[in-house]
C-alpha cells in the first residue's frame, strides 16, 4: 500500500505557459546570482545581464514595449534560470521579449530567416553537397555571405550531407520488436546523418523497431529569433505528424536536446500552445540518453566492451532546461576503460544560431574560450556532447572529433557504421 510521506504544499508551477513565465518576474529579489553566472555578461559590457534584461526590464515592457537592444545579446543558454534560487523563468522572459522586439521592431533579417529554415538550406545545398561544401570553404564566398546575410565568415557552418540518413533508413532492414518513434529533426536529416544511423542501430541492437514519423524542423531557430507566426504554423504541422505516435503510447526519442526541449516545453512557454495534442506529444518526447538510462542499463552493461579513450563531455545548455541531470554522463560511465572528464564551462558560446550572427560572433568566441582552454589542457581523444550546433562549434574550434553519446556507445558495443 502506498502512502504519502508528507502533505502536498504546491508552490512551484509544474507547467509553465507564457503567463506564468511573465508572472515569475515578481519573484526576483535582485540577488544578482544570475548575473554572476551569465556567460555573456562575463565577456561583454554591452549586455546588461539577465537580471536587468529579464525580470527587471520586463516591468517596463509591460507598460510600453519599444525598441531595445539588450535582450538581443542574450544567447539563450538558460544558465540564469538554472541558478536562480527564486524560480524566476529569466531566460524565457528574455526570449519572449526578444520575439516581441522582432515582431514589432525591425523584423527578422534575411540571414537569420535563412538560418531559421535549416531544412530548406539543407535541401537546396544537399542537391550538390560536395559543391556546396567546397564553396562554403572559400573565404571570399564567406565574406560575401557575411556582407549579404550577416552570417560571420568564421562561423562553424556544418557540412551538408544531402539526404543521406533518409536514403539509408529506407534501405535499412530492422528486426521485429516493440516500436519506438525517433524524431530526427532537421540536423540528422541534412547535416549529421551519422548520429541518426548510430541511434537507429543502437535501438535495433536493444530489440526495438524504429519508426521515423517526420523529418520536419522543430522550429526552435524561428522561435528563438522572433519569427513566431511561421514558427507556430510549423509547430502545428509537426505536432499533427507526431500526435499519432504519442496516442499509440510510443515514446518519441530525440538525439538533440534542443529539439526535444522545444517539443517538451518551448511550445507552451513561447508559443502559448497548450492544447491536448501539444501536451500529449510533450509527454511522449524523451531524450535518447534518458531513455537508455531509464530502461537499458543492465543490457548495455553486459555488452559494452572496454574503450580506452580520453573523453571530454560537455553538457549543452538546453540540457539544463530538461531538468534531468546529465544522463549521458551516467551512460558514458558504464563504458569500461573510459577516462571521462566533465567540461567546466557552462556554455560553448554558440547558443544555437546565436554565434553565427556577425554581431555576436566575437562574444560567442570569448564565451567558448573556457571550454577550448580545458580541451587544450586535457587533450581528449574525442569530445562528447548531446547537441549538434555545440558539436559543430567545438569541433571547428578544437579540431577534435565531436560526437553524440550514442555514437560513443555504439563504438563501445564494437559496432561499425555503414
Amino acid at each position: 500500500m502506498e502512502q504519502q510521506v508528507g502533505t502536498v504544499f504546491e508552490l512551484r508551477e509544474t507547467e509553465r505557459d507564457r503567463r506564468t513565465v511573465l508572472r515569475s518576474m515578481d519573484q526576483c529579489t535582485k540577488c544578482g546570482i544570475c548575473h554572476a553566472h551569465c556567460p555573456v555578461a562575463a565577456v561583454t559590457g554591452e549586455f546588461p545581464g539577465p537580471m536587468y534584461s529579464g525580470p527587471q526590464a520586463q516591468r517596463f515592457r509591460v507598460i510600453k514595449s519599444g525598441f531595445e537592444i539588450s535582450p538581443m545579446l542574450c544567447s539563450g543558454c538558460g544558465v540564469c534560470t538554472s541558478v536562480c534560487p527564486n524560480n524566476v523563468a529569466i531566460s524565457d522572459i528574455i526570449a519572449l521579449a526578444k520575439s516581441e522586439i522582432m515582431e514589432k521592431g525591425r523584423g527578422v533579417r534575411l540571414g537569420q530567416r535563412l538560418l531559421n529554415r535549416p531544412e530548406l538550406i539543407g535541401r537546396l545545398c544537399g542537391i550538390f553537397p560536395r559543391l556546396t561544401n567546397n564553396l562554403l570553404g572559400i573565404p571570399v564566398i564567406r565574406s560575401i555571405i557575411e556582407w549579404l546575410l550577416d552570417i560571420h565568415r568564421e562561423a562553424p557552418l556544418p557540412k551538408v550531407h544531402g539526404r543521406q540518413f533518409k536514403r539509408w533508413f529506407i534501405r535499412h532492414t530492422q528486426p521485429e520488436g516493440p516500436v519506438v518513434s525517433y524524431f530526427t529533426g532537421c540536423a540528422i536529416d541534412n547535416y549529421d546523418p551519422d548520429v541518426g544511423i548510430a541511434m537507429v542501430r543502437l535501438l535495433n541492437h536493444l530489440g526495438y523497431r524504429v519508426d521515423v514519423p517526420t523529418d520536419l524542423c522543430c522550429s526552435l531557430p524561428m522561435l528563438s529569433s522572433g519569427e513566431t507566426t511561421p514558427a507556430r504554423a510549423r509547430a502545428r504541422v509537426l505536432i499533427d505528424a507526431l500526435h499519432s505516435s504519442a496516442l499509440e503510447g510510443r515514446k518519441i526519442l530525440s538525439t538533440s536536446t534542443s529539439c526535444s526541449l522545444t517539443l517538451r516545453s518551448k511550445y507552451a512557454t513561447c508559443l502559448d500552445m497548450t492544447d491536448v495534442g501539444c501536451r500529449d506529444v510533450a509527454n511522449a518526447v524523451v531524450d535518447a540518453c534518458e531513455f537508455l538510462l531509464d530502461r537499458h542499463v543492465r543490457q548495455l552493461c553486459e555488452s559494452l566492451k572496454p574503450l580506452p579513450l580520453r573523453v571530454l563531455y560537455h553538457a549543452p545548455c538546453q540540457l539544463r532546461g530538461h531538468r534531468m541531470g546529465t544522463p549521458a554522463v551516467e551512460l558514458l560511465r558504464l563504458i569500461p576503460g573510459i577516462e571521462l572528464e566533465l567540461s567546466q564551462a557552462d556554455c560553448c558560446g554558440i547558443g544555437g544560431t546565436y554565434g553565427y550572427h556577425k554581431n555576436n560572433y566575437d562574444i560567442a568566441m570569448s564565451i567558448g574560450k573556457m571550454l577550448v582552454d580545458q580541451v587544450r589542457r586535457f587533450k581528449p581523444d574525442v569530445i562528447v556532447c548531446d547537441s549538434e550546433t555545440c558539436r559543430w562549434n567545438i569541433a571547428a574550434r578544437t579540431s577534435i572529433e565531436s560526437i553524440h553519446p550514442v555514437q560513443l556507445l555504439m563504438r563501445a558495443l564494437g559496432k561499425k557504421f555503414d
Binding site: Q4, T7, R12, A42, V83, L293, G325
Partner: protein, 412 residues
Amino acid sequence: MKTDAIIIGSEFDGLIAATRLDECGYSIRMFSNGVGSLHYAPEGIHVLGYTSSCSEQIVTAPLAEIPHLDKSHPYQKIGVQQVKNAFNWYENIIGEIHQRVAINGSNKLAVSAAGLCIPVYGTFNHQATMEKISGKTVAIARLRDYRNFPADLIAVGLGNSGINNSIFDIGAPSKILENTVIAKAFDALDELDGYFSAIKESVPTQTEVILFPAIMGMSRNREVLATAERVLEVPCLEVPTLPPSVPGMRLEHAFTHRLQNSRTAFHIGAWPSQRWLAEGNRIVICDDMGRRFEVSVVIVSSGGVLMGGLDVDSYGWVHETAFGFHTFQSEPLRAATVEQSLNALHTAGVETDNALRPQRKESGTCRNVFVTGRTLAHWNPAMESSAEGVSIATGWAAAENARGYLETINNG
C-alpha cells in the same frame, strides 16, 4: 540506475551530506533549485559568533558555548561530541579538496566587507583577520568604479580598531567590474607577475600587509595570491566583498566538482512534486517533469526562506516546500516589532527529533528522511552567526544517521 539517497537542495549542508555519503560509497542524486546560500557566505566558516541571548556578546570558544544553548538548538540535538567530529571531518576533507582552513578551537576576528570585526571559527589561508594585521601598517587595494568593495568604509572601520591604514588604487584585469568576472579574469591572466609588478609602484611605502578584495582569482586563487606576495614582497590578504561571494563560490565549486567527478548526479532545476512511501519503507519521489525515483533515504537541505526551502503564506506562517513537513514557528510574521518578526522568521523551520528526522503530520517520525541546515527550526543564523557551522554539523550528522539506516537495511 540504483540510487541510495536523494538530497533535496544543494545548500552547503546538502553538499556536506552528499560528500560524506559519497565517501562511504553510496550513490546519490541531488535535486537543486538554483544555487546555494554559499553565494552569500563571505567571511569563512561561522560556527557560533554571538550568544543567542545577546547579539552583542562575542563568543570566543564556540564549542564550549554549545551546552549553554537551548535544548532544541540543532547543535544540542546533535551533541557536542558529534559536532566536534563533524568539524574534524570537515577540516580533513576541505584540506583535501580545496585549501586548509585554520580551525583551532576558538573564534578569530575577521574583517568584514564593511570593515567591522566579525567572530569567525574557520578562516581561509589568505583571509584578513585582526590577528594577522593588528599592529601593522595596512594598505587597502581599491579598484576604481568597482561597487562591491567599499574601501573607504573598510579604512574607517580598521581605523576605529586602531589599525594604521591607507588606500591605493589598482587596475582591474577585466573591463566589467563584477565579482565573478574579475575573479575569472585573474584566472585567465597570463602575465600575473607583470600585473603585480605594475601595481608595485603605487603601494604606499612602509606597507606591511596589503588587503585585496576577495576576488583574486576563482580557481587559481592560491596561485594569484602567492604571485602577489612574491612580487610585492609583503603578505597579501583578502577582505570579503559584497555578495555574490567569490570565496563562497570557490568553496561550493570545490564540493560540486568532487561530487560530479565521483558519480553523484546533479538534477539541476528538478524538484519533488509527488512523494510517497512504497514497499519496505522505500521512498518514491517524482520530479516535476514526471520522472520517478525510488530511494532508501532522503535528506532535505533545501535552505530557508531566502533559498526557497521554506515559504511564508499570506497569514505569516512558514511552510516547508518540498514535502510539507510539520514546522515550528514561535509567532506569525506580523508580530509587534521588526525584531520579533525577524526572530520568528529565522527560528522557524522543520521540527525534528535528535536524529534530525521530521515528524509526519499523521503518524509519527519518519525513519529515513533527514532535515538539515536552514530548513531546521530553533536556530537563528543571523543573530548567532552560526550558518556554516550548523550546515556542516547537521549535514554531517544527517549523513551519519542515513548511513546507519542504510547499513541496517542492507544487512537485512
